[in-house]
Amino acid sequence: MNANKMPSTNKPKNWFSALAHPGVFLGWSRHFIRPLIFLTLISFAIGLWFAFFNSPPDYQMGETVRIMYIHVPNAWLAQMVYSIMAISAIGSLVWRHPLADVAMKAAAPLGAAFTAIALFTGALWGRPTWGTYWEWDGRMTSTLVLFLMYLGLVALWNTFSDQSKGARIIAVFTLVGAINIPIIKFSVEWWNALHQPSIISTQGLSMPAEIYTPLLIMTLAFSLLFFTLHLVNMRAEIFRRRANTLERQHVIENAQASAANNGKGENK
């Protein structure tokens, strides 16, 4: 009884209303996880089947075109994830929405992983096609810079003990780094080096449908994978923050409760 009447009951109302939106999010997002996992698995199955058994070798690249089916989706995701982070950063800065912070934090390590896959598969594709694993051209360099930015953001999140304060600072840096996204996009035209021009351009498709189809399905599959993982990761981050708040609260209450108990003991 005494615990409920403690003066701290006023504080959590604030804290409760701040977490209200994440609470609602936890409610509905739970029902999306299983369907998303299912869809991801299906699209990977179809995509991989197309990629290996139902697509011809490219007339120029030969069989190595199959590397493209992982490389292109991941290169696309590398940029899309950053765009999502940049949008969340705006949400975090303008509306101070805690869910935007969480979305930003949960996306960073995933983006780093997708970018790593894009760089790795790009190197393995470059070797047989261009005769080199790596070239310092605009697109590859800017993608590498993107990778470093992702890692930097992950590191930055780790250095802040107060995550909601850190979120605003990190949001600023995320937006500054967003300049890199158009650079990657236009690097091929600006530098005109080794890298292929974009497959999908305003002039329409530049490749046959047999190659385009698996590419599209794999892109869908990897995007679904990202959405699934992002959702799970956001939920985990909300859980983590809740557990932290509860622990801190419990420690404070423990101090107050033990003080109250001892006080009683002394009076007797």
Binding site: Y133, W134, E135, W136, D137, L144, G152, A155
Partner: protein, 221 residues
């Protein structure tokens, strides 16, 4: 010996909890490897020739980056003071600190070296020689760095002072490190450079704990 391992274990535990620090250092290391080719130009032959030097400079600078947090936290929260009354000597603790410092800062860099090797167009033998040289030479870097960190532990701008103190001392490591990797074709000079590197590391690791514990004792006065 158990207490020795426990000091290392706790440092690793703390490093994992503050994972940001090691990651920062790693990014710094890779960043130097990215910046250099942009500044030098994408010529493959030039980059491949310069690769060992670039990797060594990147390793040197990024190990210096982590120095400020080596002893400062323990000094500020009173851990160092209380360790004076531990059942293990301050010299052993310093030795443990060098090892944990190497594991936290140098080892991740060595593991990331293949990435730089690809970006700098290194040939396989050159790359293997660089890795070996790094494995042999970085213990000395860690030991010297720890001395610098211990000396500057109470200074306000210790994070800036320690690198300045340590850079000149690291020159021999740099010379032997780069020559060990560069002259791999002439295996004669390379292997002698490797021997020198190993010898420097052995000496540095053997003597640094005494210097560190002296410096730390003086710092508490």
């Amino acid at each position: 010996m158990r207490a020795f391992l426990i000091v290392i274990g706790r440092d690793l535990q703390l490093a994992i909890k503050n994972g940001g620090a090691t990651l920062t250092q790693l990014i710094f290391f890779i960043s130097i490897g990215v910046i250099m080719p942009i500044a030098i130009g994408p010529d493959k032959q030039i980059l491949a020739d310069l690769a060992p030097a670039i990797i060594w400079i990147a390793a040197l600078l990024s190990t210096l980056l982590g120095l400020d947090r080596l002893f400062v936290a323990d000094h500020e929260d009173g851990t160092l003071l209380s360790l004076h009354h531990a059942s293990i000597s301050l010299t052993s603790i310093s030795a443990a600190k060098i090892i944990s410092h190497w594991l936290i800062t140098a080892l991740p860099l060595i593991l990331a070296t293949p990435l730089l090797a690809v970006m700098l167009f290194m040939e396989l033998p050159q790359f293997l020689a660089t890795i070996t040289a790094l494995l042999l030479g970085t213990p000395a870097l860690a030991a010297l760095g720890a001395i610098g960190a211990a000396i500057s532990v109470t200074l306000k701008r210790g994070g800036m002072v320690a690198p300045i103190l340590i850079l000149p001392l690291a020159i021999p490591i740099l010379i032997f490190g780069v020559s060990a990797a560069n002259s791999f074709a002439g295996a004669q000079t390379s292997s002698s450079a490797m021997l020198f590197l190993g010898a420097i590391s052995l000496l540095a690791v053997a003597f640094a704990p005494f210097a560190i514990s002296l410096a730390l004792k003086a710092a508490e006065e």
